[in-house]
Symmetry: C2
Subunit: 474 residues, 2 copies
Amino acid sequence: MNTYLKRRNRLRELLSGESGIVVFVGNVESAAQYRDNGYKWRQDSNWLYFFGIDEPRFAAIMDLDGGGETVYADDFGIDDIIWMGPMPSVASLAEGAGVPASAPYAAFDEAVRAALAAGRRVHFLPVSRYYNAVKLSGLLGVAPDALFSVGKKGCPLASEPLVRAVVKMRLVKDAEEIALLDAAAELGFNMHTTARKGIRLGRIEQEIVGEMEGSTLGAGWGVSFATILTQHGEIFHCHSHEAPIEPGRLLLIDAGAESNAHYASDHTRTYPTGGKFTPRQRDIYQIVYECNELAFEMTRPGVPYRDCHLAAVRHMLDRLGQLGIVRGDVDEMAADGIGGLFMPHGLGHNMGLDVHDMEDLGENFVGYDDDQTRSSQLGLGSLRMARRLTPGNVITDEPGIYFIPALIAQWKAEGTDKGRVCYNRLEQYLDFGGIRLEDDVLITPDGARRLGSRRLPIAPDEVEAAMAEDVMKR
Amino acid sequence: MNTYLKRRNRLRELLSGESGIVVFVGNVESAAQYRDNGYKWRQDSNWLYFFGIDEPRFAAIMDLDGGGETVYADDFGIDDIIWMGPMPSVASLAEGAGVPASAPYAAFDEAVRAALAAGRRVHFLPVSRYYNAVKLSGLLGVAPDALFSVGKKGCPLASEPLVRAVVKMRLVKDAEEIALLDAAAELGFNMHTTARKGIRLGRIEQEIVGEMEGSTLGAGWGVSFATILTQHGEIFHCHSHEAPIEPGRLLLIDAGAESNAHYASDHTRTYPTGGKFTPRQRDIYQIVYECNELAFEMTRPGVPYRDCHLAAVRHMLDRLGQLGIVRGDVDEMAADGIGGLFMPHGLGHNMGLDVHDMEDLGENFVGYDDDQTRSSQLGLGSLRMARRLTPGNVITDEPGIYFIPALIAQWKAEGTDKGRVCYNRLEQYLDFGGIRLEDDVLITPDGARRLGSRRLPIAPDEVEAAMAEDVMKR
């Protein structure tokens, strides 16, 4: 059966207690400078999942009562053909998605208004872009800003049954999706390998970014998120790439590829800029590496991913204690959230069509089981995936240790650490930067495996050996 | 004096007959998948021109009566610093733009509401993105869609005096801008040279796109618009790059670089896929090349650029007549718009911070003098720059000849050509594709020069020689 029809039928099943209509609004082109000079075209992920039509200005309605489905879009006229080339008819695109009925784009608005006028419920997902917010806002008579998910909380106006059903489906990747994610991981492997080979003292970071993103654009849609390539790994989303590569630093590269089928990869590696770790770098790197491995070893069906996060943090605190940076009982330190000073983010997130999969639907709907309450602690509070793992889940495993001068200063001034931090030791690391090591992991029926056929070098010796080989091959 | 202050003072001068406040709204991050996974950050061009602060979530107000100016944005808290790194204070960024006063972002809304409540005029430019539309919509109490320019006509609600003043300023590039445009042209040269070297039979088009965009990302912001690289040059905005390079075809590459300073380049070259033009390809190519050269020769201060367009089209028709594709008096054919069948676009457009400079302000305000009326003919009607040229203008020179099967069929069926087209001859070209040749040109006090230090090979012999050399160097 048609993949998209199968998915929509499953969605109907999950919504069997509901009535009304479900509306889907695909994306339109998004302006970079102005309407006609857009960013690279990217379809809405939920639309791709349920309809697969990778063209702008499409919408659809699924009738939960009558059972009908209609795709709404306009056929191309001669002007469109001159500027954009011939497009298959809307009817044939709809048919390809398993939808027998199609109608002009404007008829979508009429159909939604008619449903509202008849007192029927209009189920919709939180929007991810302002165009869609404006479109639905006009139909529903609410402010555009009210239609976005508000971070962890979701979107109060959107249909919770619909959100829960979509999350339930997209959380578990089917065989077709797993193959696409494996392929995206290959792109990610090549992208990161290109980057590593480009590391040379004196080069500008941006030159390496160009090479790695070029490799991805040559074989995929592009990057799955804005590349982080920085000698300031302690800044999580550092998108400035103007610095020359300096000796003795760590270069953190967190980057992902998006395939032409729009599935993501997301890997992080951290390299010694000169090819060899200093002893101090190796100490910290080794801890992060152990945390990554430990979390992966624990990753299997039935385990809450929050437990993997907590285990990694406890191990990190234990090992930082051995270095004299913290002191005290590991469990007490973990309970007090001391780990957040070093890793103020979560161990990982879901990944799929989106690099942070479904984040537009509300982080807690996506990442938390109904009986799990999200922490407000720094670090644990940022954990985006806490759920009990199920075969077909795809997650990232990305522990990190960072030395963030502003945060350290704040904790010291406010006594947040309750005496657990040895500041005279810690402050020797203020110029260190940060390390993160990230893999993409599929939960299998009996455990877990990393996506893709090859793992990027990660053990400290492996990394140094790979960099030495890169130099040899130049 | 501070560049931005100088520009704003000039704007004040041009608006000396007006009162009220002028509002500027910078961009926020734009969602690719959802709010937190955005497209690459790109500031609004008008904001960059008048304030230069390349950070999201800034706004400003210029008081035309009192003379004050205020920049509105929020300083970073500890969470922002963890995720995005330290940012200079808003006050210091404002000072860098020559603005002594700053206030929190939310105070912008209050200030606009206060001005409206006091019955003062609020001057604003048409918006280019939905976020800005929603923001202004809420303040002004109008529908978001009413705040965009509607193609040629501009935006009826925006301030026409403000639009005219900004256009007047940005149309004439100052020495600083010209240096930045020359630098962007160098990026464009490198990008196109990388692409040309990558042309080999059997490669997938996307591989070449990756290499050329990678070269640009390594040295600049990225591409100034979505790359067109296609063996179907007859489709103007062909963004599909899945085809293998086939023998005997023409590969049209229309691509531009955007520098880190956000100035654009925009060049088009068309290559024989195997390195040698067929006689039929060379015939058509030679005509396009002559049109490009002819238009450039005519380009100098005082000449309406529409005249360059018309001269190029007349020459094209004359030469197509020699090939037996059209017949009749050239002037009559030109007057009847026969050129539009072969070149359904204009000769060129303004270029600067935007690749189609200021298109968000309304095409006719930007490209037409007050005494010029825009044609509705196919081709001439799409001319985006018709004005009398002035030193400091930067324009593209991009004639093309295309054989568009759907358009030819339509003209034949409807008799649009009034007997001027020899269809039995023309229909031999239905599988030809299209050719466009584009340079970026600066109007100088006594003529014009192409931007950048080197011109991409363009004469047919030059192109073949360059491609032969590429093969030698492999």
